[in-house]
């Protein structure tokens, strides 16, 4: 079972009794339960796992964690295909399909590698400098095809995602020793603790104490306002499989509210910048050690080590102890710690101090390296054969979440890293995340910090330290050597961002081109962008930039850290709010009846409403024409429930509405209905509708269907904030009442056929009146208002009676030829009648005079919202857009809403727009294309002809008054 690099023993995290088989680019690979994909591939001797973005260079595993820039693979197939998954984090599973990315035709032979042979042609800013003639769009399609890593699935995601809201006293991020100690100490004094860990398994044995909830495979990715922390959990065992696998919850999106957050996120080891530091087999030193200890995997048989700090010595000793050859340890520092040198000598490891790698070779795997020594007669270049290289460029705290929360970093010159400044109230970095790199000191730092965290929660300091956290003091680490120290030669082959193929020379170039801000350099070179987000590609860039511009690290600063810390599946953020559950669907009370009648439903302002009722085989246009003709000639039934309905009650109700509406409402008598428009303080129309006075102190106010919630808030803002002295209560009763509209010349006869205690006589109940009573024994409120232009009764009954009333009215209307009609038919009729729809015939600049409503507003005495603005000079300009009717008189004999109205044009050149068509339809009644539009000086141009342009097609229209049909309103009374 063991591959060529799998040792016969060792591996704290794997279960050798449970082999796991998966495929990599179609070839079978075996590993053990507990392996990540990267560990299994390394164990099987697979050195090349992907190709780089720009130069398509072969790349191997660099790290053993979330910071991986090279080993990004595609998992699964079909609808479950997921690109750019980190092989260093994802566990293997039987049958898992793993594919490499960015190689064509294959990982072994990639044509894109030609970019590498001509790499000199691809400096930083290459695209910006090259693809400029005639313009970028000429090249965009081809470049987009080449760019990017991996391909997203193109079918709907079959899996489910869910949200989880969590609350705790202390959130601990990271379950290393520091995180475990923090969690244990907080739980010891009774705090509720949530511990999240990105890895799928804990390293070693640990039983969390009571009070600590541990969530593995859960990576905290964002910190937001007021301390909200988000995390992404991939459910163990839910690794992507074939398309046949049934759907299940794949990931959870955590939203965590914690009173205090402890970041035990550790530190990322940084790569060294030297020429050809990107070959497969070159790995971060501690990753080599982790694969050895946790997976029993040797990254090579002859592993050279290169470092600028003490930590890689431990790696060399461990490799040596496992029987692996270590041909050399190259330390960039001229005087490493004497004790370490002594120990290395004892282990038989040859240390070269002041040594810098100048070159490496080997194609599919490093085969050797060449280094020179800085001083003491080191002689010429020395060549060393090796099949792997473990490198360490120092350690940098994982401070992403700290910075997202607004925390600042300071540069620690001894450890050569960026350290959280410790000045946030509710977010604290501990251990290695606070640059405490020696274990005893790190754990002491955790204890000190937890005393403060728990004091902030009003809890006592913990007194017991778990036995596993009691470690003897170790030697303090020596100073870390220079960062980003690439040497003078081949800087264009020394990588600082492996994923993006950004090199030291790219940083040099951007400085030469006068980009000195770290944010500019990042964007110009793309170093640290995309998947890296400052994990392994940041520190070296900052150091090179500092050196090149003769500034300190503090002066250079850092780039901004933004969520998410690792890529997050969009599906997880959406959670259950997907498809049918995207938002609550509002159904009409008589929905089932509409469905039974074959309604064509559509979404109108969140409501599922019948657009029309197509008979078998009829198109929508044919159905609309049939319904309109039926209403105009006989009678139709329409469900108008979404119409906004408010009860406005109180002794000052009339005064309130008089101030809210732009036209007078105070004089409205009980039993009567009046049309009104509302303005905002800018004088612009925000809503219209009718207002019915039920009693001296009670009004029934209709708003537009889409405006109901907005106008409800508007009423309350004025009542609560501006006029608290008015005795008024407003209640949104929109969904409490079902509203059915009976319209057409025979509407009165239909209603009269039903038991109703309201006198429906032409004189007893005229147009624009309201009556309350009972229909079929059910309480009802009937308004004689009309949006179709026909005799019309708007009947409201308690919502739960809407369905039965619909059926009763339809049955009663049968002898009169009743048809149900949908909203598209109603909209067609209102265009024929020239009735405006706020939001179609008005925009964010429309005032009452623009829509022909200037006179009632001008005649009004007393204050109302928006009054002062109507006298601003802009509002009395002669060339304002005014509402007019338009009849299509040209060829083609049709036009669509949104078309521009232009002057009569002669010759060539751009035509000047003088307005636009706001609504348009084919009128079944007049058999012509009709519309409404906003036209400059429109009212003065009635009788003139304008050009109508849309999508390159031009026709013409006659300007008419808005009411195309029955302008005198003779039909309103039936």
């Amino acid at each position: 079972m063991a591959g060529p690099f799998r040792l016969v023993a060792g591996g704290s995290q794997i279960d050798r009794a449970r082999p796991v088989r998966f495929t990599f680019d179609g070839r079978p690979v075996s590993g053990y339960a507990g392996d990540t994909i990267a560990a299994a591939l390394l164990g099987a001797g697979v050195s090349v796992v992907g190709r780089s973005l720009k130069f398509h260079r072969p790349r191997g595993v660099l790290s053993a964690g979330v910071e991986e820039p090279n080993a990004l693979v595609t998992l699964g197939s079909g609808a479950r295909r997921t690109p750019s998954v980190r092989a260093t984090v994802e566990p293997i599973a039987d049958g898992l399909e793993v594919r490499s990315q960015n190689a064509w035709p294959s990982l072994d032979f990639d044509l894109g590698r030609i970019n590498d042979l001509v790499h000199g042609l691809y400096p930083a800013g290459f695209y910006n400098k090259t693809f400029i003639w005639p313009n970028w769009h000429t090249f965009e399609a081809a470049i987009r095809h080449m760019a990017g890593l991996g391909v997203a699935a193109d079918a709907p995601d079959p899996d489910r995602y869910e949200w989880r809201n969590a609350h705790c006293d202390v959130l601990v991020v990271g379950a290393g020793l520091a995180g475990r100690l923090a969690a244990a100490l907080a739980a010891q004094v009774g705090a509720r603790v949530l511990l999240v860990e990105g890895a799928a398994t804990l390293d070693g044995e640990w039983n969390p104490p009571p009070g600590v909830h541990v969530s593995l495979h859960t990576t905290a990715v964002g910190v937001y306002d007021h301390g909200l922390v988000t995390a992404i959990e991939t459910r163990t065992g839910a690794t992507l499989r074939s398309e046949a696998t049934p759907p299940r919850v794949r990931q959870r999106w955590w939203r965590i509210r914690a009173k205090q957050v402890v970041l035990a996120t550790g530190a990322f080891e940084q790569p060294l910048a030297f020429a050809f530091n990107d070959r497969p087999g070159i790995m971060l030193a501690d990753a080599a050690r982790r694969y050895l200890q946790r997976h029993g995997v040797a990254i090579g048989g002859r592993v050279a080590v290169a470092t600028n700090n003490d930590s890689a010595y431990r790696v060399a000793f461990d490799l040596r102890a496992a029987g692996i050859e270590v041909p050399c340890l190259l330390d960039t520092r001229t005087a490493p710690d004497v004790a370490l040198l002594e120990r290395a000598r004892g282990a038989g490891i040859e240390v070269h101090s002041g040594a810098r790698i100048d070159h490496t070779w080997g194609d599919r795997r490093i085969a050797g390296l060449e280094f020179t020594r800085e001083s003491r007669g080191g002689g010429g270049p020395t060549r060393v054969r090796c099949d792997a290289l473990a490198m360490s460029g120092g350690w940098n705290p994982v401070a992403h979440l700290y910075c997202q929360a607004g925390g600042k970093l300071r540069f620690d010159p001894h450890a050569a890293c960026l350290v959280p400044d410790g000045r946030l109230d509710a977010l604290h970095a501990v251990g290695a995340a606070a640059a405490q790199f020696e274990l005893h000191a790190a754990l002491a730092h955790v204890r000190d910090t937890l005393d403060r965290v728990l004091a902030a929660l009003g809890r006592p300091a913990p007194t017991e330290v778990p036995q596993w956290a009691q470690v003897p003091p170790g030697a303090p680490p020596g100073a870390t050597g220079a960062l980003g120290d690439a040497g003078p030669a081949r800087r264009n082959r020394a990588w600082v961002d492996f994923q993006h193929d950004a090199t030291v020379a790219d940083i040099d170039l951007s400085v030469r081109e006068n980009l000195v801000s770290v944010e500019h350099v990042k964007r110009y070179t793309t170093a640290g962008m995309s998947i890296d987000q400052g994990k392994t590609a940041n520190l070296n860039v900052l150091a090179i930039l500092a050196a090149q511009t003769s500034r300190s690290m503090a002066e250079v600063g850092t780039t901004t850290f933004r969520p998410p810390f690792v890529p997050v599946t969009l599906g997880a953020i959406a959670g259950g709010r997907n498809g049918r559950f995207y938002r609550p669907m509002r159904l009409l009370p008589a929905h089932a009846a509409h469905a039974a009648l074959g309604a064509h439903f559509d979404d109108y302002g969140g409501w599922q409403r019948p657009a029309c009722y197509p008979a078998s085989g009829a198109t929508m246009a044919q159905s609309i024409a049939r319904e309109v003709r039926a209403v105009r000639s006989a009678v139709g039934l329409f469900e108008a429930t979404p119409l906004g309905k408010f009860l406005v009650r109180g002794t000052d109700a009339a005064e309130f509405l008089n101030r809210i509406y732009a036209n007078t409402q105070r004089t409205l008598e009980p039993g009567r209905v009046r049309y009104g428009i509302m303005l905002n303080e800018q004088g612009v129309i925000i809503d219209d509708g009718v207002c019915a006075r039920l009693a001296a102190d009670e009004f029934w106010v209709n708003t537009t269907g889409a405006g109901a919630a907005r106008i409800g808030a508007w009423f309350e803002e004025w009542l609560q904030g501006e006029w608290p002295g008015l005795q008024v209560v407003t209640t949104d009763v929109t969904s409490a009442w079902a509203t059915l509209t009976l319209a057409g010349p025979r509407a009165r006869e239909v209603l009269a056929a039903l038991p109703c205690d309201i006198d429906l006589g032409r004189e007893a109940f005229p147009h624009m009146h309201v009556r309350s009573g009972h229909i079929c024994g059910v309480p009802c409120r009937i308004l004689r208002v009309s949006f179709s232009g026909e005799l019309s009764y708007e009947i409201s009954v308690p919502a739960d009676r809407g369905h039965s009333l619909w059926n009763v009215l339809l049955a009663a209307g049968r002898p009169f030829g009743i048809v149900p009609y949908g909203i598209e038919s109603l909209l067609t009729m209102r265009i024929e009648k020239g009735y405006l729809h706020v939001g179609s015939e008005t925009d964010g600049t429309s005032i009452p005079d623009d829509i022909g409503f200037g006179t009632p507003v001008a005649k009004k005495t007393g204050e109302f919202v928006g009054r002062r603005s109507l006298s601003l000079p802009e509002h009395s300009r002669a060339d304002r857009l005014q509402l007019v009717g338009l009849r299509c008189t040209g060829e083609p004999a049709a036009f669509t809403a949104g078309a521009h109205l232009v002057e009569q044009v002669s010759g060539e050149g751009p035509a000047q727009s003088c307005g636009y068509l706001t609504s348009a339809c084919h009128s079944p009644t007049l058999d012509q294309h009709l519309g409404l539009g906003l036209l400059r000086r429109g009212r003065a141009r009635i009788g003139a002809t304008v050009q109508v342009m849309h999508g390159g097609v031009r026709t013409q229209a006659l300007v008419v008054a808005p009411a195309h049909y029955d302008p005198t309103g003779a039909r309103l009374d039936g």
Binding site: Y224, D225, H226, G406, E681, E716, Q720, G721, P724, R868
Partner: protein
């Protein structure tokens, strides 16, 4: 995401509330100049720091109220009734 203490319902997530703009904008009398009226309509301090603003618990009790909020840090300094004047010297105001 911010958490806002509704004076009626207590601490709730920001998504339950709607924003109503800067508060205490004095409306000039109707006979003011056009320029003063335009200032009232369109010009706001947009300050970095503690700002008084209107919020409504739109998906809750419907109450409009005032909030003193630091626009740089999103710290909620104080909430108070919609008709009350801006508190004299709130902590951290400026």
């Amino acid at each position: 995401m911010m958490q806002i203490p509704c004076p009626c319902c207590g601490q709730r997530d920001e998504t339950e509330f709607s924003y109503g703009g800067e508060s205490h904008i004095a409306r000039p009398p109707a006979d003011c100049s056009d320029s003063d009226w335009a200032d009232y309509l369109y010009f706001r301090d947009n300050r970095k720091g503690v700002q008084a603003e209107r919020w409504r618990h739109a998906r809750g009790c419907g109450l409009w109220f005032n909030v003193l909020r630091d626009t740089a840090t999103h710290r909620i300094v104080q909430v108070y009734p919609i008709t009350a004047p801006r508190p004299a010297a709130p902590e951290g105001a400026g």
